[in-house]
Symmetry: C2
Subunit: 414 residues, 2 copies
């Protein structure tokens, strides 16, 4: 029996220690951990080789094997990520607001760490170091549950981090890894509300769904993106086509890639032939409604297509007769991630910005910009697609909560 | 079979309409609804009488019957509450931040409604109008599930509100009541994540636990308060005693009432006799640890006492030898609601403010101030005791989310 409760208790203990830690100590520790990862890269690569061997034996997809693989370069990247986080401003302690009440109370709203954060993720082992860095800097203890495919790599990375922290005199339980690969342990983990304040699943739609369904801990859903680009009747095609190509093809497997086009019927005749030519160059399969099929050669699109995040060289296309119809279509099928309008009409742009229900809504820009680094947050733990707590790219600030510190001199309530 | 899905779809439709509504239209509607409640008070009181009769027949506790009872005065109070909400600033549309990116993108972080909010509450029917007012003003459609004890009252109030909205040409589905009293319907409601963005349970610990356990919709836990007052070795007793009496006795059944005292051993000999005298005047039963028992006559306190929210004329007492021990004890037993230190020592005060894990931490003031009105929020939907999204008193702003509106002129990601 894996003792999860013990892990929970240790995390709570570590969180109090971490909450008292000053910024300089945290930054110094992050840099030391970064150095330790590089110094111990041979150990990590050795353990990673075991995961790779198991993966090959199981016939793992080459793409997944590549995501799993660690080499000197990738470990260097992990270390640099930690050093960058050390450079970012510490969100903890920021005074968000002060309120003076007539009764003489001074209320200060202060930014504080959340406490203990659980992260459940799939096979990329670099998440282990990334998630640690962001949680640690924002004052949160972290409990990690990585995929069983990467278990040897994750144990090695966590061990190196814990050793480096211990050398600095820091409680190593600020990072803990669930080493059991038993599925029932994950189920139990998701119900440890007494110890864990927030759970962030990172991975495919299946993983996220199972966490949302099984967790009693508050969850932030991340990363499912059925993103649309709407080409308005007032679109400038010289902006539209490069944006569509960029959003669809620059990286197909990411959540902010474009999966569907919504096209105003007034421009479809002129736009579609040009667009089809450009998309063909990138080998993108087009699936269109009847009106699209009238203009270009394409696969018929079904209702299911409109609801699908392809993560592939496929795009669906829907014709509409107004910006209102476009907004309705998008709000019906999107995953509240990132949506764009291409238009030179300010009124339609503002209407789209206001009425489309998504974390990030764009005018004349690629949906691919939805990213913590692109937004200038300096880091990112994921893209939230829900509306509670944090929405869109989540950086350090999004890993914090607040408390009210109230000072009086004997006030009682009448 | 109760058609919850239909309710969900209607709420989503209503939410889009509500999100487009301007402040003046919302405020005017709130005032018209307030007038309608007063004009129709006889209808409401008539239906309330049926609930009261059923309650009496079931042998409902007189205190609960009183909470259930509506009269002209209480309906007047509900109407005034709505008029006050109409006076509050509209949180929707506020620009929280603007970010200019080197690539030329203009990012605006805008405050937006959450969408559809579900509220599950117990027998007080005035919550029906209060919750509607706050959700409506903050641009959210609301689905209410009140207690079966108040079903006739809740139907009457909701009907009056919907009629008044319809008269103003506003989609009446911005407020919907689940009229079924079947428990399985609540279970199904809590899993309607596709339609409902946030669920707020209001009521006792049992209700909240069942929502947390059964819901797949994000939940904000409210209202459980095992609140402590720590009397430091540097406490001014002339502040301590009135604060303790106020926090314990001013209203015993509320979540911000004090349930437990933590006393520094250096002052217990001098403080306890004076305190015991004061508490006896208010008929408060004292339950103390061995050291307290040495000084005053009291009931022995168990570990269970320290973890109990009495909501009664009972208080537990624990002796400690330092502010650190006090903080540890409080962090172990509290419900993260409201905690206070009584001290004239600035260092201990700041240590307590920083290290105690609670929504509201007080220096030299009564815990009873944890309240949306006392904080100047002008309204309150509940007190959040979790750290995700909102913490402490939740007013209009806490019923909102945000979105990023990004404007470019053709930017693509390199």
């Amino acid at each position: 029996m894996y003792d999860l409760e013990q892990l929970g208790k240790k995390a709570v203990q570590a969180k109090y220690e971490l909450q008292r830690m000053c910024t300089e100590v945290k930054n110094n520790a992050l840099r030391k951990v970064a150095d330790a990862l590089i110094e111990n890269s041979h150990r990590i690569i050795e353990q990673n080789a075991i995961d790779l061997k198991h993966g090959e034996e199981k016939g793992m997809h080459p793409g997944l094997l590549d995501r799993l693989r660690l080499d000197e370069n990738r470990i260097q990247g992990m270390a640099e990520g930690l050093k960058q986080v050390a450079e970012l401003p510490d969100p903890v302690g920021e005074v968000l607001e002060t309120i003076e009440r007539p009764v003489g109370l001074q209320i200060e709203k202060r930014r504080v760490p959340i406490g203990v954060i659980g992260i459940i993720y799939e096979s990329r082992p670099n998440v282990t170091a990334d998630a640690f860095g962001l949680c640690f800097k924002s004052g949160n203890a972290v409990i990690l549950k990585g995929g069983s495919d990467a278990i040897f790599s994750n144990i090695a990375i966590t061990t190196v981090i814990r050793e480096a922290l211990a050398k600095e005199g820091i409680c190593e339980d600020v990072i803990q890894l669930i080493e059991s690969t038993d599925r029932s342990v994950v189920q139990e983990f998701m119900r440890m509300r007494e110890y864990v304040d927030l759970l962030i699943p990172r991975g495919g739609a299946g993983l996220i769904r199972s966490v949302v369904d099984g967790s009693t801990i508050p969850v932030i859903e991340t990363g499912t993106g059925n993103c649309h680009i709407y080409i308005d009747e007032y679109a400038d095609f010289d902006k539209a086509i490069p944006i569509i190509i960029n959003a669809k093809t620059q990286r197909i497997g990411v959540c902010n890639a474009c999966e569907s086009l919504v096209i105003h019927e007034a421009v479809s005749d002129r736009l579609l032939p040009r667009l089809a030519e450009a998309l063909k160059e990138y080998h993108v399969e087009m699936r269109g409604d009847a009106k699209v099929q009238n203009v270009i050669d394409c696969v018929p699109a079904s209702d299911e297509d409109y609801g699908t995040e392809y993560l592939d060289y496929i795009i669906s296309m829907k014709t509409v007769s107004s910006v209102d119809e476009a907004i309705m279509h998008i709000n019906r099928y999107n995953t509240k991630h990132s949506e764009a309008i291409i238009t030179e009409n300010a009124e339609n742009a503002e209407k789209f910005l206001r009425e489309v229900d998504a974390a990030c809504v764009y005018v004349n820009a690629s949906t691919r910009f939805t990213d913590g680094f692109e937004f200038g947050f300096g880091a990112e733990i994921g893209i939230s697609t829900q509306k509670i707590h944090a929405r869109g790219p989540m950086g350090l600030r999004e890993l914090t909560s607040y408390k009210y510190a109230i000072t009086g001199d004997g006030q009682i309530r009448k």
